[in-house]
Assembly symmetry: C3
Homo-oligomer: 263 residues x 3
């Protein structure tokens, strides 16, 4: 058995119940040497867009061979596929609902299988409501322990993977129109406009009646002031120094954001 491999867990299960603890027990029953790291279990319930964003931002920071198990799964018990994906430097396990489309936009998959081999499940009669425990966590533990992907089920053509259609940015010579793709715990509004679009330029963000000149860091603004900056994920972000931009601007997931380029 391989030692010290990491299995990460991401879900919308919250931390109040033992659902997450039980997945860790199942993993330890299969291979007590594995390390489990929580990405988050507070994805807003059934919010696949937030899960996609979170996975995409976490993926590059884990060691080669890490297995990411993600369970935000509104379709559990219905006909959506359960899948595992092999990448250059790691593995993804979860429902086929677009959850992994952010990572796949940045890293090409090597192979994809549908999880049809019950030998690697917790039980050959999985519950209809908790595939995290019965299928995804045990499959993740077996992958991290060295079981080859093709053992887990039937390969299929990645072209048929469910895509999550995110609105694209509209870019002209003078402005970029995008949207808010994620709102974090601090109330920072993270747009889908990439750093590369504005780097080396003078730019400002138009939100409501405010025009914010792009700056470097939170504390560039006075305490309580709105600032626009490149966030740590590499996206244009709107923040309040020492406060919540979400509360201030009353904007929600998906709201439009315009950037004006000034050369």
């Amino acid at each position: 058995m391989q030692e010290n491999k990491i299995v990460t867990l991401l879900s919308d299960f919250g931390l109040r119940d033992v659902y997450v603890g039980v997945m860790k027990g199942v993993i330890a029953q299969i291979n007590p040497q594995l390390r489990v790291v929580d990405l988050t279990h507070q994805i807003p319930p059934q919010n696949i867009v937030a899960a996609r964003f979170s996975l995409m931002n976490a993926y590059p920071y884990f060691p080669e061979g890490t297995v990411h198990v993600a369970v935000v799964d509104p379709g559990v018990g219905s006909h959506r596929k359960a899948i595992a994906i092999q990448l250059d430097s790691g593995f993804l396990v979860g429902p086929d609902n677009g959850l992994f489309s952010g990572i796949l936009s940045q890293t090409r998959e090597i192979a994809v299988v549908e999880l049809t081999n019950p030998q690697y499940w917790q039980t050959s009669a999985p519950s209809s409501t908790f595939h995290g425990r019965d299928i995804f966590a045990p499959v993740g533990a077996h992958l991290a322990s060295g079981v080859p992907l093709e053992e887990l089920g039937e390969k299929f053509d990645p072209i048929t993977l469910v895509q999550l259609a995110l609105p694209k940015t509209k870019v002209t010579a003078v402005d970029i129109v995008g949207c808010i793709q994620y709102i974090d715990y601090f109330g920072n509004l993270i747009t889908n406009i990439a750093a590369a679009e504005v780097q080396g330029k003078t730019w400002s963000v138009v939100v409501g009646n405010e025009v914010l000149l792009g700056s470097q860091t939170y504390s560039d603004g006075q305490l309580g002031e709105l600032v626009a900056l490149i966030g740590s994920h590499g996206w244009v972000e709107i923040a309040v120094n020492g406060g919540s931009a979400q509360s201030r601007l009353q904007l929600d997931w998906g709201a439009a954001v315009e950037i004006r380029l000034m050369g």
Copy 2:
């Protein structure tokens, strides 16, 4: 020292303070090889019924030899006993207040001791308010490191363990009356009526003015529709597809639930 043994922690301490982190520090001081897994620290404050349910549902999913330390302890500093219990396939450590009665209804204890030997505590003068740090976590770490149960204190007759009296279901040929024994993070209402009572039958749940036909999975209902199903713990459960049954029905812990059997 034994390697890779697991100590689980369950409490109502929340995650805002360092109480849980400190218990992990104490465990690591005793044996840095032990793995610690959080079951949950968000048991509603002093809710022994919720703790009992959570432990009972997590226990079967952990490897042999796992030590479960549970600290939901309204009587800390009073005359309740501090105990450790040896089972077929693991150990339980915590206050004697009925916390473990769910597990003990499914697995027989082998031996029970009162924790009277301060040699295995964090300090021979424990605080009166934080036995999790001073007694339970260190005793759990020692047990997981191979210290025999009888070293920890005096054996006593399990018959004198505090019992948590849960209402029993009333079963007739045509219906079953039970209650809600747990409400999870999603607002799913989990009854105390076991799957075995309804399996292979046609059944429906009566709640308020609604009659819900028993179905297979959350997504059997339309989005936003109430469904009754067998949950992943093996109990009849009332849920809303994509929503919260608790908010919809405004029912609380302990509320009565009736199931009608139709053969």
Copy 3:
């Protein structure tokens, strides 16, 4: 590489985003043998006083050589120093904003460096908003893996460390006036008056119109009754048996508390 060393993490990042998970990924990339323990990630946003208190109370319970990485960092991206501190029995890593002044009031530092060597960072071009990922977590992982402190940057005189000025208690022969320095998840009000000031004496706490005789434990009061006691951290604490003293008394961080000594 050293095995089983512990890196603790404390922050105000919350648990909703992947910020904490990403720091753990960065640590595992550097040394997969390290154990990571969360102290808490729910320090109230930018509350350095709460972080200072939490670190001070957790520090003594961890094994020798533990590295504590703390990221409550309102000044991220501004001119505050990034630092690492070597102590008798462990290491501290984080921003120089007074976060560590509680620990340093109890344990003397051996050496202090400013983190100026990018060789031990995640990237030589750190983001301006997430030094937890880019500087503090990787430096913590390298320290725990045996890199000597002086490798990490320039030593400087500890006398220039930023001090967090907390109000001092005023002690006379008949009373002690202090303040509330921390409010925990249960709503317990923890004062800055040390156990040593009242031990062996008869004492009472005056809050609003209430006079509370110092007692031993939460359950010394009737259910729902206010009690004053020595908390598990070693400070005088005001609590409600089975409830929240904060809700009851409507007191906030920093509120004054008077203790009357009766010999």
